[in-house]
Symmetry: C2
Subunit: 317 residues, 2 copies
């Protein structure tokens, strides 16, 4: 039997379709991307995935028979057992049998999973969680996503809609969440939530430099501005950052009390804030986990692979 | 090699030490218990476990060589990897190497786990979750405990202090919890929490029949009284029950959004309320999970094994 040292990883995003060829050491040998243009028929998206993969293999002079499998990470609610995107709001997709369609192009095992779950697996096999068997990744982007590797196994839930770590409560009857519930972790810890918190605070303080940073229009507020303004000494912005760290910290304490992972990793746009985010966050979380200092409290770190986590994780499914 | 058809299950509780001999069909062939008397040296508790097991084996005419393994469920924070009770508040135990001590009596594999985790495994192999590979059990007793079986594997967390499902948030800055945090699921959904909710409500309504049921002293309030009073038409009690179902429901929605189990089971004292608890609870939860009716929503049911879940689950570790 021929050796199969390569795997194909696909990161299907709202903006780009990214495909990479990954080797046995979980390194990306080459990658390519095209625009997703999700408004077109979904079969064309599947065709683009296949074409990107075939072009990469040709350029690397790798035969498809040398590929062990293909993994695909997709946003939305995934039926990982049947390889179906149950729905993806951004794509306007409903019950898309993506794996069945991809099998028209490739005769190798194909697996579909949620994109945040793929990123968690990628960081565990090749990123900031390498060497650990228990990792929780939380992505702080437009929403709050996440993934869990427990005892080396990617947790995906028993049916579609599991592992929605962003849609667990922080505050009953709290802020409205995109999911229809109120008070979800996502409604407090996403980049959008932080921008909203920044806008509200700036409205109460006409002297805050956040106004200037928003060019006088608070609709320009984003998740980076409160951090930048706080570093320049703006007290109102500092309060926004402090509150945000508390919200994020409380959600991470929930994750630690449930999984006690070796590492908690942060990805997504807000994780780019680095030390001014991570240091006070670790200080906040350490004494507040169940059993406090008597229990093992993992260190919270920034994820390492950036956009490559999705490809590497998908290839590792 | 001799066939090993039997296993020893131990349920170490605050009141009683219960030991059972379990067969290959996860049935308890015989069981015995003695008082725990946790105030004595812990080695005596271990000795009692050993003696109960040996008496049971003798009565059943089973040789220890026919036993595959022993499992022990203990309250408190468990280091399941090293077989240590890190601490158990009720027992005043700290870093008790229970497995090492039990190995002095038995030369067979011995595993230690949290008691609520054992109950979840017991219900999955032989109780209301039988046949399912994904089960969440929540126990509504003095506190709120729980356990998760995901893809057939009991989840115990990466280190001691994991799977504390009762110590995830329902309400940031909410009710004080026994763990030192505020707003935990346990602080809203335990039997103690329900009694507190009942007391508070009765104080606002001198005509509520809850006063009579408490014999004029609200310190006699317990988790059963609001349910009983509501069934007799007491409107104040009905509001307490409605609120409680909402709190419990929100915590269960969190569990469903994370694990999407095939079944959610309720154990512990409050679960004895049966239909008046379970029916409105299912109605509350069904439309409120992530993705609502588009996702799979498990049925919430009462656990089936009662006190035997701990023994059967421990034997199945």
């Amino acid at each position: 039997m021929a050796k199969k040292p390569y795997r194909i990883g696909v990161d299907l995003g709202g903006t780009n379709i990214k495909v990479g060829i990954v080797d046995e050491q979980d390194r990306i040998l080459a990658k390519k991307s095209v625009k997703t243009r999700a408004e077109r028929p979904w079969q064309e998206v599947a065709k683009d995935i296949a074409e990107l993969a075939m072009r990469l293999l040709a350029e690397l002079k790798i035969d498809i028979s040398e590929c062990e499998k293909m993994g695909v990470g997709s946003p939305g609610m995934i039926d990982h057992i049947n390889g179906v995107v149950v729905f993806a709001g951004n794509f306007n997709w409903d019950d898309i049998p993506l794996v069945t369609e991809l099998r028209r192009y490739f005769s190798l095992p194909i697996t579909l999973a949620n994109d945040a779950n793929c990123a968690a697996l990628g960081e565990t096999v090749a990123g900031a969680g390498k060497g650990a068997r228990h990792v929780v990744l939380i992505t702080l982007g437009t929403g709050v996503g996440g993934g869990v590797v427990a005892d080396g196994i990617l947790q995906q839930g028993g049916a579609a809609g599991g592992m929605e770590l962003g849609h667990t409560l922080l505050m009953l009857d709290g802020e409205e969440c995109t999911c229809g519930r109120r008070g979800c972790f996502e409604a407090y810890a996403s980049a959008n939530a932080l921008a909203r918190q920044g806008r509200r605070a700036a409205k109460t303080d006409s002297k805050s430099i956040m106004h200037e940073m928003c060019k006088g229009d608070l609709s320009n507020m984003n998740g980076a501005i409160p951090f930048k303004a706080a570093q320049k000494g703006d007290k109102t912005a500092q309060r926004v950052v402090d509150d945000y760290i508390r919200y994020l910290g409380e959600g991470l304490i929930n994750c630690i009390n449930v999984w006690r992972p070796e590492k908690v990793l942060l990805g997504g746009g807000i994780s780019n804030e680095g030390a001014p985010l991570i240091n006070p966050l670790n200080e906040y979380v350490r004494p507040r986990c169940f059993a406090g200092e008597r229990g093992f409290v993992p260190h919270i770190e920034i994820a390492a692979l950036g956009n490559d986590a999705g490809i590497i994780g998908a290839a590792a499914l």
